[in-house]
């Protein structure tokens, strides 16, 4: 195994070729570190088996209720938002699968981070030789994977078995869906990271967090697909970052983005992810400066 800390030391100061090796070794070490963090993020949720089972049950029941609501709605307004009824039902079950994966109800790492800021435990995170944002992003990706498998797959399968869904057969479409989900998780993380960091300046970050959480529920399309939002509201909603969380992955899976359109959808998600992560970085360095000077 070449990617080892000591090989970094050996390679130091050598020629160009070995400098490339060095940066590869450093890259390997970074991947390993955040890999362990992500694995930890995944594993910590595996211990709550009963909660997971209860959550799957809730998601499924909830899915059934929303499904019948949508059936009634689409009976009245066929082709609402450009979806036929089976597409609308597919949307319902995808949203149940995505609910926890992109953490639409909030909580998760953000509450934890706010708590660490409040108690001053954040100081411990700062003297570690690891990057705060990457650390929490990795942990959240681990969590998201767990929730996707643990809380997402079952409701979606249930929906597919008992309802007439418009699911694709092309494996490439599924692959594109997974990528869209991944990007959605990153955007969701980046948003919540911003909110959590506000706890450095606001004594009571809970108010902001719940406001953003409600906005997320609405603008992600959890209540109603963003396609069905009328006029300007729809335009705005589809341009906001929250549309990356559910609307885009759902439309990717239903094959509504193809070719350049698919790239455009990914580009939209990537753009928001990069912008929000970038702002998060700025806020993070301001926060670190504050801790380092003001002691929190």
């Amino acid at each position: 195994m070449p990617h080892r800390g000591n090989s970094v030391a050996k390679g130091r100061g050598a020629g160009l070729g070995s400098r490339a090796l060095v940066s590869m070794a450093v890259g390997g070490a970074v991947v390993r570190l955040y890999g362990v963090v992500a694995a930890g993020g995944f594993r910590r949720y595996t211990t709550y088996r009963v909660a997971t089972a209860a959550g799957v049950f809730t998601n499924t029941v909830f899915g059934v209720i929303v499904a019948y609501t949508y059936i009634a709605l689409w009976d009245q307004r066929p082709n609402l938002g450009g979806y036929d009824q089976s597409q609308a039902l597919t949307y319902v079950w995808i949203s149940q699968a995505m609910l926890m994966t992109v953490n639409l109800f909030g909580g998760g790492f953000a509450d934890e981070l706010v708590e660490r800021i409040r108690t001053g435990d954040i100081a411990i995170d700062l003297y570690r030789p690891a990057d705060l944002q990457l650390w929490w992003l990795s942990a959240d990706l681990g969590r998201a994977l767990f929730h996707f498998l643990g809380r997402g797959v079952v409701p979606l399968t249930f929906g597919a078995l008992f309802f007439d869904l418009a699911l694709p057969t092309d494996p490439l479409t599924w692959l594109a869906f997974l990528l869209a989900v991944l990007l959605g998780v990153v955007v969701s993380f980046a948003l919540r990271f911003l909110v959590a960091l506000s706890a450095f300046w606001l004594l009571d970050g809970a108010g902001v967090a719940s406001l953003v959480s409600i906005a997320g529920l609405f603008f992600s399309g959890m209540l109603l697909p963003l396609n069905a939002f009328p006029g300007l509201l729809g335009e705005v909603a589809r341009a906001l970052p929250w549309s990356s969380l559910l609307q885009i992955p759902a439309d990717v899976l239903m094959g509504r983005h193809r070719g350049w359109g698919l790239l455009g959808a990914f580009g939209f998600q990537l753009g928001w992810a990069a912008a929000l992560l970038g702002v998060g970085r700025l806020l993070q360095s301001a926060a670190v400066r504050r801790v380092v000077v003001q002691g929190g």
Binding site: L33, V36, R43, R44, Y127, R128, Q294
Partner: protein, 320 residues
């Protein structure tokens, strides 16, 4: 030259905003550390003590680089902690008794796996260090237990191990024995003694338990209101604190307080009397005088109580 920790006139001033009225806010300065200078050579184990709010934790935070000093010069292993925090992290280990660095929801071992990757510890080295810590800190049966299920003493031992896997040159311990029972304390102390003896790890330790200091540190620094009140051998604290020894005399019968030069009676209980005299003075002339002038049955000399010395020092002035 081999000083691992160097402080020259280090200060930390916090600005605290306080609400005084509906809208009015008052800015106030808290001088948590107020001009401290000291040096710790490699391999030394130093106690850093002082009353609550003295500035101990603030000093340690500056030494780890998570707080920048407001003034003065600070070097640890030749590095400027707050500027080179990430580099320094490889050279230091930190244990905050009141906080944990461990992964709360996960088995203890996962936190060590993380340290392995975070500090890029070579595999063989990691194994060796972990085995050693597991053995000496009695962690074998705890590795699979989620940290949140550990008792305070177990968690503290787990934290100490986590701080040492990357072979730090310097170890800071901020109240490592807080809340531990006698047996856990003894285990932790023994471990630190061995670590210091075998690896020459430099250790800076804060505590409110003076037994920690008595058993571990030849050198002790006392800080109060952000200033260094004493820096020297533990034994020297007695002189510095103008401490007193106690002569306990048993007389044949109840008598009025004994009259003796250089000593005063502090307590009388039936035929037994307690006399305080300066710790620096010899007991012999005092004993001779009492034996000659009073019907003496028995006597004993009590060494000064270090806690009393320090308590007196805490509300005193600089002692040197």
């Amino acid at each position: 030259m081999s000083d691992l920790i160097e402080l020259d006139g280090v200060e930390k001033v916090f600005e605290v905003r306080r609400k005084t009225g509906r809208l009015r806010r008052e800015k106030r300065e808290v001088r948590a550390v107020d001009g401290i200078s000291f040096r710790v050579p490699r391999g030394e184990m130093v106690g850093y003590i002082g009353p609550n709010g003295a500035g101990k934790s603030t000093t340690i935070k500056m030494l780890t680089g998570i707080l920048t000093p407001s003034a003065g010069r600070l070097r640890v292993a030749g590095l400027d902690p707050s500027r080179e925090r990430t580099k320094l992290a490889q050279r230091i280990g930190v244990v905050f008794g009141q906080r944990t660095t461990l992964w709360w929801d996960l088995p203890l071992y996962d936190s060590y796996k993380l340290a392995h990757r975070m500090y890029r510890i070579p595999d063989a080295r990691f194994r060796e260090n972990l085995d050693r810590c597991v053995e000496l800190l009695d962690l074998a049966s705890l590795l699979d237990v989620p940290v949140r299920q550990l008792s305070l003493g177990q968690r503290m031992r787990g934290d100490i191990a986590a701080a040492l896997l990357h072979d730090p040159d310097v170890l800071y311990l901020d109240e490592p024995t807080i809340g531990l029972d006698v047996i856990s304390k003894a285990k932790v102390r023994q471990f630190l003694r061995d670590l210091n003896a075998e690896r020459a790890t430099t250790i800076l330790l804060t505590t409110h338990d003076l037994t920690d200091i008595e058993q571990l540190c030849k050198r002790v620094m006392v800080i109060d209101h952000g200033r260094l009140m004493y820096d020297g051998a533990l034994a020297g604290l007695h002189e510095a604190g103008e401490s007193e020894r106690t002569l306990v005399v048993d007389l044949e019968r109840e008598l009025p307080p004994v009259q003796a030069e250089g000593a005063r009676v502090v307590k009388v209980e039936g035929p037994r009397q307690w006399l305080a005299f300066p710790a620096s003075a010899s007991a012999a002339p005092l004993v001779a005088h009492i034996a000659q002038a009073y019907p003496l049955v028995d006597l004993s000399v009590r060494e000064p109580d270090i806690e009393a010395v320090i308590a007196r020092m805490y509300d005193g002035r600089p002692l040197y």
